[in-house]
Assembly symmetry: D2
Homo-oligomer: 278 residues x 4
Amino acid sequence: MIRHTLMVNCPDRKGLIFDITRILLSHELNIIENDQFVDTDSNKFFMRTEFTGSFDSGRLYSDLEESLGREASLKLLGSRKKNIVILATKEHHCLGDILIRHFFNDINANIQAVISNHEVLRELTEKMDIPYHFVSHENLSREDHEQKVMTILNQYNPEYIVLAKYMRILSPSFTGLYPGRIVNIHHSFLPAFIGANPYKQAYARGVKMIGATAHFVNHNLDEGPIIEQNIVHITHKESAEDLAKAGRDVEKIVLSKALQLVLEDRVFLSGNRTVVFR
Amino acid sequence: MIRHTLMVNCPDRKGLIFDITRILLSHELNIIENDQFVDTDSNKFFMRTEFTGSFDSGRLYSDLEESLGREASLKLLGSRKKNIVILATKEHHCLGDILIRHFFNDINANIQAVISNHEVLRELTEKMDIPYHFVSHENLSREDHEQKVMTILNQYNPEYIVLAKYMRILSPSFTGLYPGRIVNIHHSFLPAFIGANPYKQAYARGVKMIGATAHFVNHNLDEGPIIEQNIVHITHKESAEDLAKAGRDVEKIVLSKALQLVLEDRVFLSGNRTVVFR
Amino acid sequence: MIRHTLMVNCPDRKGLIFDITRILLSHELNIIENDQFVDTDSNKFFMRTEFTGSFDSGRLYSDLEESLGREASLKLLGSRKKNIVILATKEHHCLGDILIRHFFNDINANIQAVISNHEVLRELTEKMDIPYHFVSHENLSREDHEQKVMTILNQYNPEYIVLAKYMRILSPSFTGLYPGRIVNIHHSFLPAFIGANPYKQAYARGVKMIGATAHFVNHNLDEGPIIEQNIVHITHKESAEDLAKAGRDVEKIVLSKALQLVLEDRVFLSGNRTVVFR
Amino acid sequence: MIRHTLMVNCPDRKGLIFDITRILLSHELNIIENDQFVDTDSNKFFMRTEFTGSFDSGRLYSDLEESLGREASLKLLGSRKKNIVILATKEHHCLGDILIRHFFNDINANIQAVISNHEVLRELTEKMDIPYHFVSHENLSREDHEQKVMTILNQYNPEYIVLAKYMRILSPSFTGLYPGRIVNIHHSFLPAFIGANPYKQAYARGVKMIGATAHFVNHNLDEGPIIEQNIVHITHKESAEDLAKAGRDVEKIVLSKALQLVLEDRVFLSGNRTVVFR
């Protein structure tokens, strides 16, 4: 049976769950999985419902809108695969993991293309039957380079853009075009090291673990709402280079997990936070 | 059979392991456990050896010094418990964990006293038969307060000072008196949040894990060489207060583990890093 | 504002969330946190709701019962602390952790007593102002020993019994008296080792991690529904004794976490499984 | 500079480290990394040394043999990639991870071939430029099927055989041919479930984590010496199928990590245990 997902996000008030379930019931839909959360700071209500049954989506929308008001954000999703475009640079670990999952139909996405500012990843990408676009940044201003990338993105019009170790800083005018639609992965340290060469800084203080953070991108590239995080333990024996290597393993797992959550419509944005219904 | 530990730290050169094991062999000592590490950045050699056998420690020292030269740092340790003093403020989780382990003889330390700038932890401490010194910081300059704490520390002359959630910033003139001898625990976030109220900042960005870092204190309170780290996973459902609570559980485990390593002479300082032979 | 918790467990049918939220709304209650789960294997519905507001509990119960039918299991809970009795033997790590949390009011329980078949833990328990009952098993049949323990339990009539490393096997006639009310902790290995001395078996195969499992006790002591699990990593350097030591640290954390979940009414029994709303 | 690795395994006696480092020094070799371990149960000594320098390997061997005696097992290894053959069935996660690492030269191995009893993984394997051998087990006795697999293995004569979710039970007469040379991955549960369909059993008891164990294969397929283990946390919301999916992610990471350790000559066999120098 086909599962549908309803995602609701609106100001909290008494009786919301009652109202929403009443409407679903009146359409004779069968709820399979249901999660809610109230962010008491912002007084926002979040609800994700998976249900089965056949229904008139126009009527369902209008019933929900009537009850929830104009401030409500509603998404009614089938199980159709999402279109995504991946941006990468030279590192293969995140891209490779996603491509393999895609090749075996293990990810709820249709990878439309890979865009890179280098040629290193072309061979793998094309072996996996995905178009590869090389957009060199050499001799281009950031603005001009982004413009070229955007032109390609516009051809595909993806629902999500995945930064799989894309090592270029994106300008706010770029990221502003895709609010809540760009997923990035970056290394994380406990405690954090800011500035150039964080692996060297981390090594210099003898950190005992390194991590990875997958997050949505906002105007400030590395500071958007966090979707998923994890770490691996390391020891003094590991060089700054070993740290980077260990970091890659955790990065790929964290990014793939974050993507799975996003692509299954399990992640809400709530200001600078995420609400993740696993 | 009594185990002895030799800790050697000296500039690296060819033949060091050979020379040290030759000397131990010439004293008819039996090596049980042996670890070495060369920090190739600083060209420093670290070796920790546990052995059994009876020996003349004066002769052993002089044989080692003759072979390793004047730059070598040598420590020859029996299994005697280390004297420690604990500084705490109001939170009980780290102190409680250490006191219970001490009560049942499960930690290689003799807790000489607890010093606190509040009275909250007196009852527990005294129930566990440990002297408790209340040194209020009220109406005192940082300098004067630290002077009072130092006076008490001088009575006990501990080998290590443990900051078990001691919420006062220690001045460099204090920490400089105990180089490599103060162990601190502090919360850590991925990525880190700097400034006031880190739990609120972490909550505001929706972090999915929080951590703890145990480290030696240097002139910069929260930035000394890291001994041990760990994390716990959290979700959007957890408030800033829940984050602090989850943080406490990981803090107590990380601090107790770091202490165990330090008290068993398994931790070397190497510049701003540690070498930890587990 | 006082929080109340409603726990519902009944056969699944369409409209349950609607019906329950309708009733809560009709009593003018304000839902703070709400979780549901449908076990599709058993067709059972589970719902946990935290709400605020003043209400007539008799009327609320009867409204719910009328709607949900006679097969529904309903619990309406205030935030009153639960009465618990702890059974232990000689090991202090789990008991100590619980006692410290209790001493500082950090656990939603009132520890009525500790019962042990040894005297080792008396001193700590009494320092923490908890009655200690020594019930030796020597020269007693299992039946007679359990009878004596039951007599003490009956004095206290606890809501939950916590086996904090209680090393006696409980007979089905004992455990049958407290269905879903006994929480146990036991070591776990990946893969499991059955029979005597599991730490030795685990050591002999060179396991690289050991774990702990907190669970409800059913007729078969170590096989009831699992509440919480975790592991720590180990290496070849650790002896069978070290494994047991590492096991103790993870046992205490897992048991305390499981207790927190149970004592906050976050755990449902579903056949031989648990549904845990964190 | 080329690194060489010496692996020594012999009965323990006084002076072994001294003797070995003396010999390395006499050949003017420079030790970079050095690990030892004494298994006090079996009285076996293990040492792994990485060093640089040019030497006459025949003379070095004979010097070591003379000093360490005939019972010593010695391996002197360059950094040449190891030849491996992978056996798989239908699942792609472990194979895909290894193939991607191999494609980008990120694993110290030369994958000679993939052998499978199904055709599912041919396309991916051949895209990655690795020969694929389909050996159907249909209408064949176990003996005859293994014979066919062995014939192919003999063509390649690999140093290690990797079972990347090879779902056929190997007979002792097969595994006996490659002692300490077959690496397998299998799911693990805490506590373990024996018999058919472990994911269903684990689900039925509501486990809160699942794991994976990479190990050498001995006569008893799933019970050889453990190399590496890890787990992921799960909840009651995850079906038996979700458990299997979560299991796949941890399986691929654990197998790849175990392979890295084996292929860098960091793993010793010690009876039914491993000694792993990370």
